[in-house]
């Protein structure tokens, strides 16, 4: 079916999808397909020698190892993120607003920095062992391989689950819970049968993001010595400039990503989960934890200790010493400005460009709208270097002034990270009944007016969470930045890279700490504003 043909297709709600919406969503998906098309082109030109470097047996083995890691990290992030979100949003946990901010912050720690910090802390004779030495601990077991990668990736990605679950819990309908309680259901039953199913779209979206992130990650798995399709892709690029062999593995990675996207959409599509009440909804009932607050506090403290205090502590420890080579300590402020401005621009552009695909998939579900959405999600599974090379390939052919300009870098960022905006926006739209839009239309609102006046305000928490996720991901992006930035433009991530590439961790630490400082107000604003608007504060 062509795009034009699909535009006249009749949706399940009996209304035609506006041609403009389909065209816009199609254009955005086209951008997302660019890296896929580039990789397909490279894979097609693979000769026997290139195929010999990516044999089927290795590909399958790497795909399995990748899938096992992605599954493990998804489970771990759910186990960590959902209880944390529930405690922060729905209970009287002491200091919950602070816990909420602390829970989101690990998102800005670049995952390879997290891995370095964990390795530094938990190496057999690392910082933790040193601290425990007086207690007679002479050696710690090593945290590398599968479990090392699992912990470091959980650290970097559980905030996706936490943020989306918290957004879901805030906008979830309180009346369904109240109805369940009034019908005699116990607290636990309400939680498992009403509350959690209501945020299922959020959880499916977050798990999808986590899985795609694991697929794309190189920093953690390479440092932890665990092989995935992405490390395989890097080996082929870096050892032999074997672009075609790398592309073959990248296509396998995309196939795996597509399988994960399909599984996630099955989870999401199991029945509607609309709020029954229109308007801004009331916040769910705050659970009085009572005696349980103590174990809850221990749970939060353990997580925040391991995932935030420990890496930040290691960074602070490293930053005590001045750089022995340049003799300077401190940060490059222009890099901080560069990071913050590009991340802001990317977050805004991404939040806007994903709207057509999100609205299309929500309001006019059809095979076409579903596939447009899926295609837009795929590039986030690719390692950054593959996306970067796709834009190098296209950009160099366009040449100046496009190639290696901030504009092209912005395009690369949006392609890499718009899935975070899309998944989050979609998840919150799923909770809005299309009947509300129909009502607005029947009362005389034009389509765009109905969306902006009625629907988007209701999906606000998801749109904002999505923009924040894009911001926090962009601010630490490295491979595309190195190849596509204008010369002389620096970001904190490139500053961090300069230090780690020669093992000068004392130079890494100030920039990494500054990343966290920049992100903190945004994370605060996000959690605070949402809470305030939905009346979920004290």
């Amino acid at each position: 079916m062509t795009a034009a043909g699909a535009a006249t297709a009749v949706s399940s709600h009996g209304r035609r999808a506006p041609r403009l919406l389909v065209t816009l969503a199609g254009l955005v998906a086209l951008g997302a397909i660019l890296p896929v098309a580039y990789l397909a082109l490279r894979a097609l030109s693979a000769d026997a020698a290139a195929r010999a470097l990516a044999p089927a047996s290795t590909t399958v083995e790497l795909a399995l190892d990748t899938a096992v890691l992605a599954f493990g990290v998804v489970v771990a992030t759910l186990v960590v993120g959902v209880p944390l979100a529930w405690l922060v949003v729905r209970t009287d946990l002491p200091g919950r607003r602070l816990w909420g901010i602390a829970a989101s912050l690990p998102l800005v720690i670049p995952s390879f920095v997290a891995a370095l910090a964990l390795l530094g802390a938990f190496a057999p004779r690392g910082l933790v062992q040193e601290a425990l030495e007086p207690l007679g601990v002479e050696r710690l077991p090593e945290v590398t391989g599968y479990w090392g990668a699992l912990v470091a990736l959980t650290l970097s990605t559980y905030p996706y689950v936490y943020l989306l679950a918290a957004a879901g819990l805030r906008s979830a309908d309180a009346s369904a819970e109240e109805a369940a309680r009034s019908l005699g259901a116990g607290r636990f039953r309400v939680l498992t049968r009403v509350t959690l199913p209501a945020i299922r779209p959020s959880l499916a979206a977050a798990s999808l993001l986590v899985a795609l992130y694991v697929l794309s990650d190189f920093g953690v798995v390479s440092l932890m010595g665990y092989s995935t399709l992405t490390t395989g892709i890097y080996v082929r690029y870096e050892s032999l400039l074997a672009l075609e062999s790398a592309a073959l593995l990248a296509l396998a990675l995309l196939a795996l990503a597509l399988a994960i996207v399909l599984v996630a959409s099955r989870f999401r599509l199991r029945g509607p989960v609309y709020r029954s009440t229109p308007g801004a909804g009331r916040a769910g009932k705050v659970t009085n934890l009572g005696w349980w607050r103590w174990p809850a506090l221990v749970f939060c403290a353990t997580l925040i200790g391991l995932f935030l205090v420990l890496p930040v502590g290691v960074l602070a420890w490293w930053s005590f010493s001045a750089d022995p080579i340049t003799g300077r300590a401190g940060v490059d402020w222009s890099a901080a400005v560069g990071s913050a401005s590009m991340a802001t621009a990317t977050a805004l552009v991404a939040a806007i460009v994903v709207l057509p695909a999100a609205v299309l998939a929500w309001r006019y579900p059809s095979a076409l709208s579903r596939w447009l959405e899926r295609l837009t999600l795929l590039p986030s599974a690719l390692p950054g270097i593959a996306v970067a090379l796709a834009l190098v390939f296209v950009g160099a052919r366009i040449g100046a002034p496009v190639y290696q300009s901030l504009g092209l870098l912005l395009v690369a960022y949006v392609i890499r990270f718009m899935p975070y905006g899309l998944a989050s926006t979609r998840a919150s739209l799923d909770a809005v009944s299309p009947r509300l839009e129909e009502a607005a239309r029947s009362l005389g609102r034009r389509p765009v007016g109905a969306m902006t006046a009625v629907v988007l305000p209701l999906a606000r928490s998801g749109v904002l969470a999505g923009a924040a996720l894009v911001f926090l991901s962009t601010i630490k992006e490295l491979p595309a930045t190195l190849l596509l930035k204008p010369i002389g433009f620096e970001t904190l991530a490139t500053e961090i890279w300069k230090g780690t590439s020669i093992g000068a961790y004392s130079e890494v630490a100030p920039s990494a700490l500054l990343l966290i400082v920049i992100a903190a107000p945004l994370v605060y604003l996000l959690s605070w504003r949402n809470a305030w608007e939905l009346g979920a504060t004290e």
Binding site: R125, S239, L240
Partner: protein, 340 residues
């Protein structure tokens, strides 16, 4: 919603002006674009000095040597780069073999010993580095160390060796050794290491750190990583060990530079290459802050405390062969499970 649209509008305008601002930056009449796999912290003073001496502006893109090489391949004839300065002779060879590097003049090539350039004149070495065995000085005495890299398969070293199979210099060592001794012998050696429970690390720095912590006792790396780490941790109990003369484990490699063949600025590019081989630049490469590599032209002293390059007897091997010899090495590492 008005407020939101204003914010959005402002952001779009800001983004566009950022983009166009970069695009309309005044272009220099004489400027060179350098793709540098050498770290900014180590080479920026060289770049600045070149501009001061010649008036030629330099626009330098810093990234890893291999990342830049993949970009050069994808850019092809449209590359904005004039110069490719790389850490790795193998990567230089692969880029050169694809016709992406121009021939250098005989005069330029002649400034360094023949073993630090190629006969095709696609690149020339800018500094020398040697493969070594690092060892933990708390665990081992000099006299206990193996005389040859082949000796690492002895049960004496079981569980005590660290290597970095993804590292380009390790792969270059393996490729050269396969060329000199044949596939069978090198494969047997790799299997012997595996039986010895060799530990795999992501890069050379982590190998030296592991030796320093005592996780392993010895590691195969390049000679200068030790000095980078000693600058940060002066009491690191690690030293370099060279095998007996002629041993493949002593292979001497080079960082090098080439002129990108699509350049429109061949004369200025040639000046830059010659500048890197000038006394001042060579001295900085050899003795600047954090540096511990070997200068390649006569009359420039090496870093104090470093063993003289002339006394390091590696295997007889022509670095220009690496573009051909890397493939069998990487394939063997894949087949033997060292890489996936």
């Amino acid at each position: 919603m008005k407020k939101v649209s204003v914010v959005v509008l402002a952001a779009v305008v800001a983004a566009l002006s950022l983009a166009t601002g970069a695009a309309t930056a005044p272009s220099q009449s004489t400027s060179l674009t350098i793709y540098s796999g050498r770290e900014e912290r180590l080479v920026k003073p060289i770049m600045d000095r070149f501009t001061r001496d010649t008036g030629i502006e330099l626009k330098v893109r810093y990234a890893s040597s291999t990342t830049l090489a993949t970009a050069l391949v994808e850019e092809g004839r449209n590359s904005p780069a004039d110069i490719y300065w790389s850490q790795e002779p193998g990567t230089l060879g692969l880029v050169g073999a694809r016709g992406l590097l121009a021939r250098l003049s005989q005069a330029t090539i002649g400034k360094v010993p023949a073993r630090f350039s190629t006969r095709s004149r696609r690149w020339v070495g800018t500094s020398g580095r040697s493969r070594v065995l690092v060892y933990n000085t708390n665990e081992l005495q000099q006299g206990e160390l193996p005389a040859s890299v082949w000796g690492l398969t002895s049960p004496r070293w079981k569980g005590k060796i660290g290597i970095a199979p993804t590292n380009a210099s390790f792969q270059a060592f393996l490729g050269a050794t396969i060329h000199l001794y044949g596939e069978a012998r090198v494969r047997a050696w790799l299997r012997g290491l595996e039986e010895n429970d060799v530990r795999l690390y992501p890069n050379n720095t982590t190998v030296v750190q592991a030796v320093g912590r005592g996780d392993v006792e010895v590691g195969l790396v390049n000679h200068y990583y030790l000095y980078n780490l000693l600058a940060e941790t002066p009491d690191l109990p690690v030293r370099n060990h060279w095998f007996r003369d002629g041993d493949p484990g002593n292979l001497v490699l080079a960082a090098g530079v080439g002129i990108v063949s699509s350049t429109q600025k061949a004369t200025a590019a040639q000046r830059f290459v010659d500048f890197l081989l000038s006394k001042w630049a060579q001295r900085f490469i050899a003795r600047g802050p954090g540096a511990a590599e070997y200068p390649l032209i006569d009359g420039v002293p090496r870093r104090p405390g470093l063993r003289p390059l002339s006394t390091i007897k590696g295997p007889k091997y022509i670095l220009g062969r690496l573009s051909a010899d890397l493939t069998p090495a990487v394939r063997m590492l894949l087949e033997e499970g060292y890489l996936k």
